[in-house]
């Protein structure tokens, strides 16, 4: 187990380093610099370049950036003068995190229950309906769901607020459209997993020794079936985060995803780099946690050590 965790940790660090370096190089490979405005006098442009350290050789800039990064300093936004990237992440991220957590919770709870029930009523009408929902949920892009919901429930029927963040009603549509993919993925996997577990010998043993069905379902079926499902949580978190870019835009939520997209529009290099690195670090840590957690939850891995 310890070996597995160290290996994954090393891998995560290398990935993060690659992302930081690639982002840095990409931003500097862009033609021109942020001060190419022709109205800018040459002297001022030179001063700006010096102020932001763009006159130094590339490797030196890289060293400075890395050093700042190690101190948790992501630099100033180029578009919004006087604001640091750290500030903007601190402003925006709580909204994004709130939305993301809601979407994940909704997705996991709903998906696991749908999948379990579908497996229990295998081949019945509930199973078929649940699987139709799952296929649709996997197939329809989140921004389509979001816009259609917004049009139907907010613009036409006017039962939910169209945009904004704060009240419970305002959180319903964004969390739903962001979490639907999680529901769908979880439901499909959970169904397959439960069907697999139900056929195992130890379930027959549990029933044969006279456990009541509630005991069998909770302690033996669901506990075993949910294990492999946990592993997809990592990729799903990635999906939630990237999905939030567009969901925040559709519902006007002042989160970090909106900043990120705007930064890309505005060529705000430092902000793009900062948010990319922040997001990447967040996702790498999240996936690492899911993997390690999985190792701890599953005794077969915890005791045997390593997983290959």
């Amino acid at each position: 187990m310890a070996r597995y965790v160290t290996r994954r940790l090393a891998q995560a660090l290398v990935t993060l380093w690659v992302i930081i370096t690639v982002t840095f190089l990409l931003m500097h490979a862009l033609p021109g610099d942020p001060f190419t405005d022709p109205k800018l006098p040459e002297q001022i442009r030179q001063n700006m370049r010096i102020k932001y350290g763009l006159d130094k050789p590339l490797y030196e800039q890289y060293g400075i950036y890395f050093n700042n990064l190690a101190h948790g300093n992501l630099g100033y936004s180029l578009k919004y003068q006087q604001r640091t990237v750290n500030d903007m992440i601190r402003d925006g991220f709580p909204y994004s995190a709130d939305l993301g957590v809601r979407a994940i919770l909704f997705g996991v709870l709903m998906g696991v229950s749908l999948g379990t029930l579908a497996a229990f009523y295998h081949d019945g009408w509930f199973d078929r309906t649940a699987m139709v929902i799952a296929v649709v949920g996997v197939s329809v892009p989140n921004f389509i769901i979001a816009t259609l919901l917004d049009y139907l429930l907010a613009a036409k029927l006017q039962i939910l607020p169209a945009a904004g963040w704060g009240s419970f009603q305002q959180s319903l549509m964004p969390s739903f459209s962001l979490g639907l993919l999680v529901v769908a993925t979880m439901a499909r996997l959970m169904r397959a997993s439960v069907l697999d577990v139900v056929g195992q010998d130890y379930i027959r043993t549990a029933k044969a020794k006279g456990l009541n069905s509630r005991e069998v379902i909770w302690r033996h079926i669901i506990r075993n079936a949910i294990l492999p499902v946990i592993t997809v949580l990592g990729p799903l978190i990635v999906n939630i985060v990237t999905g939030s870019f567009v969901i925040e835009q559709v519902f006007g939520i002042p989160g970090l995803g909106k900043y990120f997209i705007q930064a890309v529009y505005n060529n705000d290099y430092t902000l793009i780099m900062g948010t990319t690195i922040f997001y990447s670090a967040l996702l790498i840590v999240a996936i690492l946690l899911v993997d390690v957690l999985y190792g701890f939850v599953d005794p077969r891995i915890r005791l045997a050590g390593g997983r290959d």
Binding site: T15, Y151, N267
Partner: protein
């Protein structure tokens, strides 16, 4: 009560005919015939396939100019970029089958021109991914040892990079210019494929690793087959099933990524139409002119759904373990 008496007379030897034992009771089917039969039995997969065929044909014919067809044929009346400022934001009906947009462009023609773009990007990106993936995974799996080790470490590192974030960054570097369609699409294709091949590389590597030590490969080696023949005749046919499934499921995810990028404004530039740009434009005017958004949404959702249903069915059909 006495037990029934068991004696020799109650039994009779089974007739065993050597000739009959050798006869083949059902026709021999190749892998593909067998898969096709199972696919045909799967109604949802066939429905998905049918819808895809219809969409592809529609994308080919509707925007096309066809002089032998009557005047009202959409392709004869409009081009996707034609603006008619007299007919701005017309609702569906008349000569504009699903209305016009805010610049007076016919939406039906734009929708199917967009289909051409989205489908082309989806299919070509999936094929490029496939090509890189097969080469990378094939080399890694076939050579094994230290080479495999290094190549897999690289993949593990790349795998941790969030795909869409990187695509967004890359689309910034290769920002499409609107000069012509080719230079508008190529950067996007590059951004979408630069990390997209990882999945198929892992798949191919795993399959090759599993297959190369099996007896039939050894037998071929003993019989004097060279590496090329082993790869082409023995390894590839065995991995082709999962690869085809992977491609059918990769196409909708590329279409999604393209639509996503275009929706946030980083995809193909404006005069060109893709389903993502149409949806983005529709979203802007959703409250006043809802038909802008509805048709591209249906098109994207239906295409992705059909690809997924077809891919799922194909996976079941091509899996030899499902054979009865």
């Amino acid at each position: 009560m006495a037990a029934p008496e068991i004696n020799r007379e109650l039994f009779q030897p089974v007739q065993f005919d050597r000739e009959q034992a050798e006869t083949i009771s059902r026709p021999a089917l190749t892998y593909w015939q067998d898969a096709w039969i199972r696919l045909k039995r799967n109604k949802t997969a066939m429905a998905g396939m049918l819808v895809l065929v219809v969409i592809i044909i529609a994308a080919m014919v509707f925007p096309a100019r066809a002089s032998f067809l009557p005047q009202w044929w959409p392709g004869n009346l409009y081009v996707y970029s034609d603006q008619n400022l007299q007919e701005i934001s017309r609702p569906p009906g008349g000569l504009h089958w699903i209305g016009t947009d805010d610049l007076g462009r016919d939406l039906w023609v734009r929708l199917w021109t967009g289909a051409r773009l989205s489908l082309t990007i989806g299919i070509s990106a999936a094929l490029v991914d496939l090509l890189i993936g097969i080469v990378y995974g094939g080399i890694s799996g076939y050579l094994g040892g230290a080479v495999d080790d290094v190549m897999m470490r690289i993949i593990e590192v790349l795998f941790g990079i969030p795909y869409l974030i990187m695509v967004i960054l890359l689309s910034l570097i290769f920002r499409p210019t609107s000069a012509n369609l080719f230079s508008a699409v190529m950067p996007l294709l590059l951004a979408l494929t630069i990390l997209g091949w990882i999945g198929v590389a892992r798949l191919v590597r795993g399959q090759v690793l599993q297959l190369k030590n099996q007896e039939f490969v050894l037998a071929a080696q003993v019989l004097g087959a060279d590496t090329w023949r082993i790869v082409a005749k023995h390894l590839l046919p065995n991995v082709i099933g999962p690869i085809i499934v992977w491609v059918t499921l990769d196409i909708p995810s590329v279409i999604f990524s393209e639509a996503f990028l275009s929706f946030v404004g980083l995809g193909v530039p404006m005069p060109f139409a893709s389903w993502g740009t149409l949806a983005a434009n529709g979203y802007q005017f959703m409250r006043i002119w809802p038909w802008f958004i509805i048709f591209p949404s249906i098109a994207i959702a239906l295409t992705m759904l059909s690809f997924n249903l077809f891919g799922d069915g194909l996976r079941d059909a091509l899996d030899p373990r499902m054979r009865k």
